[in-house]
C-alpha cells in the first residue's frame, strides 16, 4: 500500500528580490539615504545660494528632497513589481490553461497576488478529474555561501507549483471489510 504522498511540479520560482508584494518595504532606509544625499546637496548649494545658510531652510530642503525621491523610488518599484506580477500571471495561466483547457479558469494578477501573499491553494480540474492544486511554497533560500556577509537581508525563494495529492483510494476500509467477511468462522471449511 503506497503511502499517500503529495508530489509537486514547479511552474516557476522567483526570489524576494523580484517580487515582495510590499513595494513600500525599506522606505525608511531609502528615506534615510536620500536625507544624507539631500544634506550633502544642500551643503554644496549653500556655496552658491546664501539663502540656504540657515538651519530651518536646510531642514526644509532635506525633508523635501528625501520625501520626493523616496516617493519616486517607491513608485518605480511598485510599477516594476506590477510588471513582474503580470508576467508571472501569464506564465502560470499558460500552464493552467493547458491543464484545464478552460479559459474561465484563468487567474488575474490580483488573484495571484492574494495566492502569493496569503498562501492557500487553488483546485484545478483536469478534464473533470480533481486532484491537482495550484500552490505557493515559500521557502528560505539555500544557506548563503560562507564568504557572503551574514548581515545581508535574507533572500527568500517562492515557488509556484502544481501539487498532486493522491485521492483517498478507500482501499484500507475495503480490506478491513473483506477481512471480517473472510475470517468468519467456518469460512475456510466452506471454501474448501
Amino acid at each position: 500500500m503506497p503511502t499517500p504522498r503529495t508530489e509537486t511540479r514547479e511552474i516557476c520560482s522567483f526570489t524576494s528580490k523580484d517580487w515582495t508584494g510590499r513595494p513600500a518595504d525599506g522606505a525608511g532606509a531609502m528615506f534615510g539615504g536620500f536625507s544624507v544625499i539631500g544634506f550633502v546637496a544642500c551643503l554644496v548649494l549653500m556655496t552658491f545660494t546664501p539663502g540656504l545658510r540657515d538651519v530651518g531652510a536646510t531642514m526644509l530642503f532635506v525633508a523635501l528632497f528625501a520625501s520626493t525621491f523616496t516617493f519616486l523610488g517607491i513608485l518605480g518599484k511598485n510599477s516594476s513589481e506590477r510588471a513582474f506580477l503580470q508576467r508571472l500571471t501569464g506564465t502560470v495561466n499558460e500552464v493552467v490553461l493547458e491543464l484545464t483547457a478552460d479559459r474561465t479558469n484563468q487567474l488575474s494578477p490580483d488573484e495571484l497576488r492574494s495566492l502569493l501573499v496569503e498562501g492557500g491553494s487553488l483546485p484545478l480540474l483536469v478534464n473533470g478529474v480533481s486532484g491537482l492544486h495550484l500552490m505557493v511554497i515559500p521557502q528560505p533560500s539555500p544557506k548563503p555561501k560562507q564568504y557572503a556577509k551574514p548581515k545581508t537581508e535574507v533572500v527568500t525563494t517562492t515557488r509556484i507549483v502544481i501539487a498532486a495529492t493522491p485521492p483517498d483510494y478507500g482501499i484500507n476500509s475495503f480490506d478491513r471489510l473483506l477481512e471480517t467477511a473472510t475470517t468468519d468462522p467456518g469460512f475456510n471449511s466452506a471454501a474448501s
Binding site: 506564465t91 499558460e94 493547458e98 486532484g131 502544481i162 475495503f174 473472510t182 468468519d184
Partner: protein, 193 residues
C-alpha cells in the same frame, strides 16, 4: 520564466540573410515559452495520471481477489456470506470503474498535451535547421564578397606597372594571386550550392 531573445540589438540589415535569420529567431522565441509551459503542464498531468492509475491497479487487484472468492462459493451454500461478498464485489467494481474513467480522462489530456508538444518540437527543429543553413550560406556569401573585393584591390591596370616600377616579378605574383582568388571563388561556389 520568460525567454529573453538572445540578441536584443539586431545587426544592421546588411543583407537579407540577417532579416530571414531574425525572422526565424523570432518564430523560435515565440514557440519556446509555449513548449516550456506544455512541458510543465505535462509533468503535472502525468502526476495525476500516475496516482489515478495506482488507484485503478489497487482496485483491480481487489476485484480479481473477490472474484476468486466468489467463484469458490455458491449462493445456495452460504447465503449470508455470499451476499456480503457480493456487496463487496459491487463496491470494488464501482471503484474500479471510477478509476478507469478518471485514468482515461487524464490520459486524454496527457495525450493532447504531448501531441502539441511534439508538434512544437518538430517545428522548432525545422526552424533550427533552416537557421543553420541560412547562417552557413550567409558566411559563404560574405567570403565570396571578400574575395571579390580583394581581387579588385589587387588588379592593377597593366600599363601602370611599367611606369616607375620595372619589376617583372611583381607582375607575375599579382597574376598568381588573382588566379588563386578566382580558383577559391569557384571552389566556394561549388561548395555553397
Amino acid at each position: 520564466m520568460r525567454v529573453v531573445s538572445r540578441d536584443a540589438t539586431p545587426a544592421p540589415p546588411l543583407d537579407n540573410y540577417a532579416e530571414f535569420i531574425g525572422r526565424l529567431d523570432a518564430a523560435a522565441g515565440k514557440l519556446t515559452p509555449r513548449r516550456d509551459a506544455l512541458a510543465k503542464a505535462l509533468g503535472a498531468a502525468e502526476l495525476l495520471f500516475n496516482q489515478n492509475h495506482a488507484g485503478l491497479e489497487l482496485w483491480g487487484q481487489r476485484l480479481s481477489l473477490i472474484n476468486q472468492l466468489l467463484a469458490r462459493h455458491t449462493a445456495t451454500q452460504h447465503a449470508r456470506r455470499y451476499s456480503t461478498l457480493r456487496e463487496l464485489h459491487d463496491v470494488a467494481f464501482k471503484m474500479e470503474q471510477m478509476f478507469t474513467s478518471r485514468t482515461q480522462r487524464v490520459q486524454g489530456v496527457c495525450r493532447a498535451i504531448r501531441a502539441r508538444r511534439d508538434q512544437i518540437n518538430t517545428s522548432l527543429f525545422e526552424l533550427e535547421k533552416s537557421r543553420v543553413k541560412l547562417t552557413s550560406s550567409r558566411m559563404l556569401a560574405l567570403e565570396r564578397e571578400n574575395l571579390r573585393k580583394v581581387a579588385n584591390d589587387l588588379s592593377v591596370p597593366a600599363e601602370g606597372i611599367n611606369l616607375g616600377f620595372p619589376d617583372p616579378g611583381l607582375r607575375e605574383s599579382l597574376r598568381e594571386a588573382r588566379e588563386a582568388i578566382i580558383l577559391a571563388e569557384a571552389l566556394l561556389e561549388v561548395k555553397g550550392n
